[in-house]
Amino acid sequence: MPEWLGRLRAHFRNPDQGMSPGEFESLARAVFEHQVGSNPAYGAYCRSLGLLPDTVASWTEIPPVPASAFKSLDLFSGTPLATAVGEPEVVFETSGTSRGRELRGRHPVASLELYREASMPWFGRHLVPEDQPLTILSLLPAPDVVPSSSLSRMAAFAVEAWGGPDSRFLADPDAGVDGPAVRESLDRAQVDGEPILLVGTAFAWVHWLEWAQAEGYEARLPEGSRLMETGGFKGRSRVVPRVELYRGLEASLGLPLDRIVNEYGMTELLSQLYEPVLAEPGPTGGATPVEGRSHRAPPWLEIQVLAPETLDPLPQGEVGLLSFMDLANVGSVSAVLTEDLGRVDAQGGLHLQGRAPGAEPRGCSLALEGMLEAQP
């Protein structure tokens, strides 16, 4: 294992130590050099742009790949850690949409162990800051059912790290959330009186709320319980505003708003960003408003905010396209340009504005993708 990878793994294990700008620059260059050298598509792209390890002045010049490229190109870089560099250990896939025809993004992961190392300490800091075992109920399919789900895999890592014996996965990829099973687990948690951790996507929580409402079921979770919500409503027919969703969860589960944590992650990134509502609770101790929250990135992930029209970097505080340099993506490509908009505040908090939906001017012409995606 090269020296730089050892240093990077040490950072994964100790995120609270932070990372100096110089250290990030050094590691980013090492990762970039590895990826240019071992990833034919990315290497050719960087050569075509004339942006290579010996020509970029800083990590900010490392060319990002668009998230959409994960759909059409093989972006596997391998890692010097993996025994069989030629094959990814797993390929995570983006979720499909209701339109069905859209290609799924494919993120080849060289080493699940590295994913665990990069994801768990930051997860723990934001969702299990007391570092004590607890029941983890995941409204997700288990990773053996959906091995291509990065989220299910991460939840499984969390169960392995902190999960008590009653931890369970409570959803099926076809049938969705298993309402009766969730109810049973919540009832047991209330009897036990020990705090639990709930994990699920926004859409799963909407599904659960609809089930609970139809059943007239309400829970009062033990004090200290917490909930992680992630993802949006891509391809779903129903979209619920976040505040409305959180208020519903508060009423249904008896969980204060400041015990609900949003995770921002995407299949194309192996690192995650979290709202630090548990890790850095507000000074008043009162409920943290949902609006105005920001996300914290781990030290090995840097954010650039770019002008949507030119991709030029924007001054700090301005809203633009988000581009990430995620060193945990060592086995694929670390620099990823997203379609999401946001801004970074002076403290480094990321304020997400989400994806700008269909805001372009329309005419009597059909945008081609709309038609193509509508076909069976």
Partner: protein, 441 residues
């Protein structure tokens, strides 16, 4: 912005109902106007928009820029291009092309092919529903309705309000009694109750809009009410090897750039993909470079309007993905402006992603017309126009394109502005708005 002779308060169901009732009351008077006189009055107003010095035109250009998100030079191009068909001469020609004897709109006339007499009759009152931000679509629709003597309530697209308001203002000055047979009211598509109220009182409906929006409206219209739907479509171009090089190549690139850039590519007549028949890679890429220069020249003449962050985000994803593919596949190439103004791509395997309405054009090399046909087959219901250049055997190509769903095959430079009498999505623009009555005694 509304104009129906009533106050300028927000549009309510009562106001829409009142407007429809008032319009229906003007029908008898409208039927009494000779169609030639109606065309003359409309033409006099329309000609004002061909005069850039006319105060009405000047004021309209600025208002259209603000609401449609287009640059001033592009608004001027669109307004002058649209107004070309709003003149007295062109409206007379429209009537002559649509009807052997245009006075068939005034009353029964002998059918030269038989003993019967025929009359082309409009309706007591119509509702025309526009959408989007292509200026002039609603105005043309209003003109068509008046020519067939149907009072009309127009709900323009959100980005097409200023021009029709201006036209109606000009009509009030020129012929107030004719203007009384029109009303322009704008409401948002979410205001279903207002739409329902409008539909209740009309006897004909014309809809421009997305497939989904049009389908929704079609579902609300009673079976006894005729409806014409102009759903979303897009256009293509087909280039033969003769259009790729030399002066012909330069001309084709310039014409294509003009067609792509006009309307900022929002029109159903705007080409998005260009099928290039049997071109060698080198020649195709050289043509792509030339097209890129022409697109830059077009942007310098008439800059595109501002792009929303969401559109820019998708464009950047598309461009970067194409650049990555181009790095590993020499058949793929991309040229683009430093900002979001224009993009030219050579892609033998265009995916489901697209450039949206961002002055983006994809050159798709195909071995022959058979391959082109197989690629276009599933797109047929949404095909509109095809611009062609440098193609041998144009007649047989036209046959093939017709079979695929294309309703208009023209030289490249003709794409953006079809004449008033074009077969709009396959039907005569006035004949689509009348019913024939035959009388045999």
């Amino acid at each position: 912005m509304t104009s129906d002779g009533a106050s300028h308060s927000p549009v309510s169901t009562a106001r829409v109902t009142g407007a429809v009732t008032r319009l229906a009351d003007t029908r008898i008077a409208l039927l009494g106007w000779p169609v030639a006189e109606i065309a003359d009055k409309l033409g006099r107003v329309g000609e004002r928009f061909s005069d850039p010095a006319d105060p009405l035109t000047r004021k309209t250009i600025e208002a259209v820029e603000a609401e449609a998100g287009l640059s001033i030079p592009m608004v001027r191009r669109i307004v002058s291009g649209m107004a070309r068909d709003w003149t007295r001469a062109r409206l007379r020609e429209l009537l002559a092309r649509e009807f052997l004897d245009p006075t068939v709109l005034d009353g029964f006339v002998p059918d030269p092919r038989g003993r019967r007499r025929l009359r082309a009759l409009g309706d007591p009152v119509a509702l025309h529903i526009g959408s989007g931000s292509v200026p002039g679509v609603s105005t043309t629709s209003m003109i068509r309705s008046l020519l067939v003597k149907t009072p009309v309530l127009i709900k323009p697209g959100g980005g097409d309000r200023a021009l029709i308001e201006a036209f109606r203002h000009g009509l009030e000055e020129e012929a107030p009694e004719l203007a009384a047979s029109t009303a322009v009211l704008y409401w948002r598509s979410a205001e279903q109750a207002v739409l329902d109220a409008a539909l209740l009182g009309v006897s004909r409906v014309v809809v421009y809009g997305s497939d989904a929006a049009a389908a929704k409206i079609r579902g609300k219209v009673p079976i006894t009410t005729p409806i014409t739907v102009y759903h979303h479509r897009f256009s293509i171009a087909v280039l033969g090897p003769d259009a790729m090089e030399g002066k012909e190549g330069e001309a084709a690139a310039a014409q294509l750039a003009w067609a792509v850039s006009t309307f900022d590519q929002r029109g159903c007549v705007s080409p998005h993909r260009v099928y290039v028949l049997g071109a060698e890679r080198e020649k195709l890429h050289a043509f792509g470079e030339g097209l890129a220069r022409a697109m830059a020249a077009e942007a310098a003449k008439a800059a595109p309007g501002p792009i929303a962050p969401g559109g820019a985000a998708r464009l950047q994803q598309y461009r970067a993905e194409l650049r990555m593919r181009a790095a590993v596949d020499p058949a793929v190439a991309i040229w683009s402006s430093p900002e979001a103004s224009w993009t030219v791509v050579v892609d033998p395997d265009p995916s489901s992603s697209s450039l949206g309405h961002t002055r983006g054009v994809v050159l798709v090399p195909v071995a022959d017309r058979s391959e082109m046909a197989s690629r276009l087959r599933t797109l047929g219901p949404h095909l509109q126009s095809a611009g062609i250049a440098g193609v041998g055997g144009a007649s047989s190509l036209a046959d093939e394109l017709s079979e695929l769903g294309v309703t208009r095959i023209v030289p490249l430079e003709e794409l953006p502005f079809p004449p008033a009498w074009w077969a709009h999505d396959g039907s005569g623009p006035l004949r689509a708005l009348i019913r024939w009555v035959e009388f045999e005694s």
